[in-house]
Amino acid sequence: MNPLDEHRLAALLRRLPPAPEAWVKAAQELPLVRGRLEEIVARAEADAEFRRALVADLEQALAQAGYEPDRALVAALRGRLAED
């Protein structure tokens, strides 16, 4: 960091604003959705049609299957499906 003056420091402080609060909260709640996540993944592994529906439209497939498609669950599930 050169030159290291207060203008430069101020500019660098501006580079890391907070992420939107709702995003942070959803990520923090990942442990709370773990049970539902494992249940859905197991069902997707056993039911190819359900898995296809999840891949096609995750939120809609979850809602149709009776799961509340909240942010944390959708995010965790998307990550798992991407890994497979």
Partner: protein
């Protein structure tokens, strides 16, 4: 990784360094996970929207994907103190995947070759400065964060902190000078992580 809120109680998480925090997460400490997300959320967010210029809906998807992967793969991390570079790499991969797959919305003006790398280097510097910020008093940390990172006005800061509006500018100036003193001789190149940061 299973979390048990009874493993650790209290508000000691903020004082843990990165490696200690990762260890607590692995032990199933839900509070540690919340702190880990809080600690790295700005960094992940900045990579998404500044380095890769993802529009907000795509940035949100990537943000959540990154933390979901961190959660799932924390047990595979070889070096606990290297959690931030690891998260950075996961974030970069997720951003690139998103752009390659054809995001819902295209980045507003595209990304020139090398531009993302340049932005990432600047974010490394910004991260190093935030680590120094954590060494200042609570009051200084708060007021500098509010003014620069949260873009709050003097008036808002004065109202929320119950301070005379006329003192805000001088407090910011004084705290910024303290930050500069801390930075002198300690940051002359993008620094690596490994320590506490908030």
């Amino acid at each position: 990784m299973r979390f048990d809120a009874s493993v650790t109680r209290g508000s000691e998480y903020g004082s843990l360094d990165d490696a200690e925090l990762v260890g607590r997460c692995r032990a199933g400490d839900e509070g540690a996970w919340r702190e880990l997300v809080e600690r790295f959320s700005r960094y992940v967010f900045a990579i998404c929207v500044q380095a890769y210029r993802l529009p907000e809906p795509d940035a949100e998807d990537v943000f959540q994907d990154v933390f979901a992967r961190v959660y799932e793969r924390l047990g595979q991390l070889r070096s606990d103190e290297a959690v931030r570079p690891w998260i950075a790499q996961l974030t970069r991969n997720c951003c690139v995947d998103r752009l390659r797959r054809g995001a819902r919305v295209e980045p507003s003006d595209g990304i020139e070759e090398g531009e993302a790398d340049e932005q990432l280097e600047q974010l490394e510097e910004a991260w190093a400065v935030r680590q120094l910020l954590a060494e200042l008093s609570e009051n200084c940390r708060d007021i500098l964060d509010r003014f620069f990172a949260r873009d709050q006005s003097y008036r808002t800061i004065a109202e929320e902190l119950g301070l005379p509006p006329g003192t805000i500018a001088s407090r910011i100036s004084r705290c910024l000078a303290q930050l500069r003193e801390r930075a002198e001789g300690r940051i002359d190149a993008p620094a690596s992580s490994g320590g506490r940061s908030r």
